[in-house]
């Protein structure tokens, strides 16, 4: 019995997520670089995709010496979280956009070139961005501690596994290594 295209696509995505997870955790980067990548990726994952600031975050992941895999891992991990938290972001954004003390700031930003393309005046986008800014530091330290602990306890064993060797041998790994932390 053949699998449906949707099931195949879901499985492929999960496989890629697994690949990304392993590659990132075993990359050359320090736990801090991986954690910084996860933190920036979380910013993209939490915000609605077509927000102007996501382009900036993506450029930061690519250009800054952080783990690219970490960024993709952060994006993959936090996108489903964002769907769950959307009502919270909506409420938070609404409160901020309605706050009398911030009206002058929003009005000024709304009438500033390029800023409106960030869609900051959308409740979900602003709520997600502010929530990410508030959570960025905890995400960073949490991820750094988790990666350090993983490498110390399981890193060697997993690195020598057949699965990891197969992953490293693939062509995709070579492309991915362009963005590896130095």
């Amino acid at each position: 019995m053949g699998r449906s295209p949707i099931t195949f696509s879901v499985m492929l995505t999960l496989l890629k997520l697994l690949q990304s997870l392993f590659k990132t955790l075993h990359s050359e980067g320090t736990p801090g670089q991986v954690a910084a990548g996860i933190m920036l990726g979380a910013g993209i994952g939490l915000s609605p995709l077509l927000s102007g600031h996501n382009l900036l975050l993506f450029a930061m992941i690519v250009l800054l010496n952080v783990s690219f895999g970490g960024g993709m891992l952060g994006l993959a991990l936090f996108t489903p979280v964002a769907f769950l938290l959307d009502p919270v972001f909506d409420r938070l954004g609404y409160v901020l956009l309605e706050a009398p003390a911030l009206q002058a700031l929003w009005t000024s930003l709304y009438n500033t070139p390029l800023v409106p393309y960030t869609s900051f005046n959308n409740t979900v986008t602003l709520g997600a961005l502010v929530a990410w800014l508030a959570l960025a530091v905890p995400i960073y330290f949490g991820a750094r501690a988790a990666v350090s602990r993983y490498r110390a306890k399981y890193g060697e064993r997993v690195n020598n596994s057949r699965l990891m060797k197969a992953l490293k041998a693939s062509k995709a790994y070579n492309v991915y290594s362009w963005f590896q932390a130095e």
């Binding site: 609605p48 077509l50 450029a59 690519v62 250009l63 800054l64 010496n65 690219f68 964002a82 769907f83 959307d86 009502p87 972001f89 909506d90 954004g93 609404y94 956009l97 309605e98 009206q103 929003w106 009005t107 000024s108 930003l109 709304y110 009438n111 500033t112 070139p113 390029l114 800023v115 409106p116 393309y117 869609s119 005046n121 959308n122 409740t123 979900v124 986008t125 709520g127 362009w178 963005f179 932390a181 130095e182």
Partner: protein, 610 residues
């Protein structure tokens, strides 16, 4: 050994990043037009509450312009036709406001316009949950609730037909029962208020006091005795004055209540008239009042115009907010939660959308070619920033021989204390669609006519008119239906088929909650007169039967409630003067006695003022 220096930037990633950006540009070039077309179709469809199709949309980045081809906007009330089709629309944008995500149109040109064209495939109905879909449904429900038109002729007049009425169907009974309850509660309240005054006890004790005073000799009492007596009487007089004042208040309140009850009797009478009309409809009796004739024939199309006008005015209200307060609208549709997008307009800045003043030549194609000249000013999403009303004026001529004259003016003033939207249009020589008369086997093709319409919405107040003038009408009959027509229908047909002129005028007024719609036409008196002459006796006979049937069921309750109102009125009008008279009399007696005592007392003593 020293640790390698940590590098902040990953310079070797610039190449792939540039490649990525190049890929984005490539994707933009390949798909931007298609994506923008889809988004424009979705947004316009949601905004207008009807299917909007765009054949092709091209973003001309170098010229900061957008070219739209084959735009078709379906009629939300008739999915088989398009309200408007445009061959080419060229939109020249001002690039500076575009950096702030604001659309400011410098120049707009439209070509190949067509109106009211047939669609190849029926349009999709509006999403009932979209804002425009909800607005359309609301205005549709509003028109159905507020405008109900009598049927002119439904069948053979049968005065011998038995008429069976259920009392539960009659509003008179309900109104009479409700009024009887109000009469009882008014009577109870009146009696309780009167009892609380304790007038009888006051009058009796005061009369007794006056009798006691009459027996007193001031000389025997002496100065001090007179002073004490007068002082105690004074307290009684004050109490009587208070009672008189309370009685006056009660009288005023009772008169107001009686007036309300009298109004209730009028409402019962109005309910009885409605019940007569209801019973008449069961017997299928037509109304021969002249305004009812026009309402029956032209009520639907005129109400349809006002419904559409109100719907679009409400749509403008929704998308063009008054003032400069932050304005909320639903966020973009996406897989994630849409959220709410808030606009923050600012004085001296561009609004989110603006069509600058401009003259537009509209080339009309299709089966009715022609040319129109449009002048638009201040078309914007934030009129308070512009400070002038949005106006559109269109003039021109359509048709191969330019026989159809078009004059249209619209104004939207959505700032200041009294926002107002208005529209006036006049089409001359236009071929209007045929009007089928409801429940009659014939209709009218107005032919080349003059159609004048106007509509104004100011706050809650609405005003409008819808007028058709035609000198060459053609009456359309369904031959089968005409063969089986009743005498009534045949008479109407004979009247109509002898006429060549049609003049209809509908006038809307009042408020959205309580609209008024008066429709008159040159057919009113002609039809009503002929029908009265022909069927008057038969109708009068049936009318008497209708009245008897209703009266038989409601007379008992109506008579009972009339008697109750009458009793209460008599009670109030008879009793209160008596009570007042008794109080006045005893007051007078006490004052007389006090004067006698004080006059009889020796010396110039100072007595309390009365």
């Amino acid at each position: 050994m020293t640790a390698p220096r940590f590098k902040v930037f990953r310079w070797r990633a610039i190449g792939p990043l540039l490649l990525f950006l190049l890929l984005l540009v490539g994707l933009w070039m390949a798909f931007a037009d298609t994506v923008a077309r889809g988004m424009a179709e979705d947004n316009l469809s949601g905004m207008l509450g009807t299917q909007v199709d765009i054949g092709r949309l091209t973003i001309l980045e170098g010229e900061a312009a957008v070219e739209v081809r084959q735009l078709a906007i379906a009629d939300p009330r008739d999915p088989r036709r398009n309200l408007l089709e445009a061959g080419t629309i060229l939109i020249d944008l001002d690039p500076v406001p575009l950096t702030e995500k604001k659309l400011v149109i410098d120049r707009l040109s439209l070509n190949g316009l067509q109106f009211l064209t047939q669609r190849a495939t029926p349009a999709r109905p509006a999403d009932p949950n979209s804002p425009a879909g909800r607005l359309l449904a609301q205005t549709d429900a509003w028109a159905r609730e507020k405008f109900q038109f009598p049927a002119l002729a439904l069948g053979r007049i049968d005065s011998a037909r038995s008429l069976v009425l259920n009392p539960d169907q009659l509003g008179t009974v309900k109104a009479a029962v409700a009024l009887a309850g109000r009469v009882d509660s008014t009577r109870q309240a009146f009696e309780e208020s009167l009892n609380q005054l304790q007038l009888k006890a006051l009058v009796d004790s005061s009369a007794e006091l006056a009798t006691q005073l009459a027996a007193l000799d001031p000389k025997k009492l002496g100065l001090a005795g007179v002073q004490r007596t007068v002082s105690s009487v004074q307290q009684r007089l004050d109490r009587i004055k208070r009672a008189q004042s309370q009685l006056q208040g009660l009288e005023q309140s009772a008169r107001t209540s009686l007036a309300t009850l009298q109004q209730g009797l009028q409402e019962v009478d109005a309910a009885r008239q409605r019940d007569y009309a209801f019973a008449r409809s069961l017997l299928q009796l037509p109304s021969l009042d002249a305004p009812d004739v026009s309402a029956a024939l032209f009520g639907e199309p005129s109400a349809g115009f006002f419904e559409a006008a109100l719907g679009y005015a409400r749509l403008i209200e929704r998308y063009v907010p008054p003032g400069l307060e932050p304005w909320k609208r639903p966020g973009p549709r996406r897989t994630r939660l849409d959220g709410t997008t808030v606009e923050f307009p600012k004085v001296a800045e561009y609004p989110r959308f603006l069509l600058k003043q401009g003259d537009v030549d509209l080339t009309v194609g299709g089966p009715v070619p022609g040319s129109l000249k449009a002048t638009a000013n201040g078309i914007t999403s934030q009129p308070a920033l512009i400070g002038v009303p949005a106006t559109v004026a269109i003039t021109g001529a359509l048709g191969k021989d330019r026989s159809v004259g078009v004059q249209l003016g619209a104004m939207v003033r959505r700032f200041g204390r009294a926002p107002k939207d208005s529209l006036a249009a006049r089409l001359t020589g236009v071929s209007l669609p045929a009007i089928q008369f409801p429940k009659l086997p014939f209709g009218v093709d107005p032919g080349a006519s003059t159609l004048s319409t106007s509509f104004t919405l100011a706050g809650d107040r609405i005003q409008g008119s819808w007028e058709i003038l035609s000198d060459r009408v053609t009456w359309l009959a369904d031959s089968t239906g005409l063969k089986n027509a009743s005498v009534f229908e045949a008479t109407i047909w004979r009247v109509l088929s002898g006429l060549t002129v049609l003049r209809v005028r509908a006038e809307l007024g009042g408020t959205i909650e309580h609209p008024t719609l008066a429709i008159r036409s040159n057919l009113d008196d002609a039809i009503a007169g002929r029908l009265r002459a022909l069927l008057g006796e038969e109708i009068a006979k049936a009318e008497r039967k209708v009245r008897q049937a209703v009266d038989q069921l409601v007379d008992q309750q109506v008579t009972a409630v009339q008697a109750r109102v009458s009793d209460l009125t008599t009670q109030v009008t008879d009793r209160l003067p008596v009570e007042r008279g008794q109080l006045d009399a005893v007051h007078q007696r006490l004052e007389t006695e006090v004067r006698r005592l004080t006059r009889g007392a020796a010396g110039g003593i100072t007595l309390p003022k009365l």
